[in-house]
């Protein structure tokens, strides 16, 4: 069964460093998303991406964040200068029609 994959599973970084989180969505899906979940809190929407451009973004998704689909299979989230409060699980999701399918997540720890 096709699934969304994410790498790395765990990323540790120093405050102020740049990180890139990678995702491979399900191959025939057209819509791509990033969500995050701070420990013990709800899953929060960050950004959606369709037809090679951002279709919607949340207040959290400020100038420090960017997304890219560099080729036909990968979808990346870049955080330019990480802050302590960026520590969270980051989930990539993809959809074809309505149902969004999530990857296993990347745990980002900012020290």
């Amino acid at each position: 069964e096709p699934e969304v994959t994410q790498t790395p599973s765990h990323q540790v970084t120093q405050m102020g460093q740049e990180v890139i989180l990678r995702c491979v969505p399900i191959s025939n899906h057209l819509y791509f998303y990033w969500y995050r979940q701070i420990l013990g809190q709800k899953v929060e929407f960050l950004v959606s991406f369709y037809n090679n451009e951002i279709s919607e973004k949340s207040e959290i998704f400020d100038d420090q964040f960017s997304v890219e689909r560099p080729d036909g299979s990968n979808f990346t989230l870049k955080i330019r200068s990480t802050k302590l409060e960026d520590s969270a699980m980051y989930f990539c999701a993809s959809s074809l029609v309505n149902e969004q399918f999530f990857g296993p997540g990347t745990r980002l720890t900012v020290l």
Partner: protein, 109 residues
């Protein structure tokens, strides 16, 4: 903006003891109601989508139902492997999902 509320926050059941989880929301209308299962340290796993009041969907021991203002996830004769956090979310088309805080379900053998 839609607010999604789930109750209870946590539920402990004996194996075989049936119960229901609740998800309520503030914005009615043409939005999908999604149920996901989340295991610790993992991503949400899609279970069901409901769109219309009166709609029901089933999968193994789980049945999801929808009214105009809320959804229920009924779990019948649960087993320990059903232990997880159950999330509900609302969304329109391929737009963002708005999640509730989840119900942490523990099934005791």
């Amino acid at each position: 903006e839609d607010q999604v509320t789930q109750s209870p926050e946590a539920l402990r059941l004996q194996e075989g003891e049936s119960s229901s989880l609740n998800c309520s929301y503030t914005v009615s209308g043409l939005r999908g109601l999604f149920w996901y299962r989340q295991d610790p340290g993992k991503g949400p796993e899609f279970l069901f989508t409901l769109y219309s009041a009166g709609e029901e969907k089933e999968k193994e021991r789980l049945k999801a139902t929808l009214t105009k203002k809320e959804s229920f996830l009924h779990i019948t004769a649960p087993k320990p492997e059903d232990s997880a956090t159950y999330l509900c979310a609302r969304g329109f088309g391929n737009e963002k999902l708005t999640f509730g805080t989840g119900t942490r379900l523990t099934i005791i053998p």
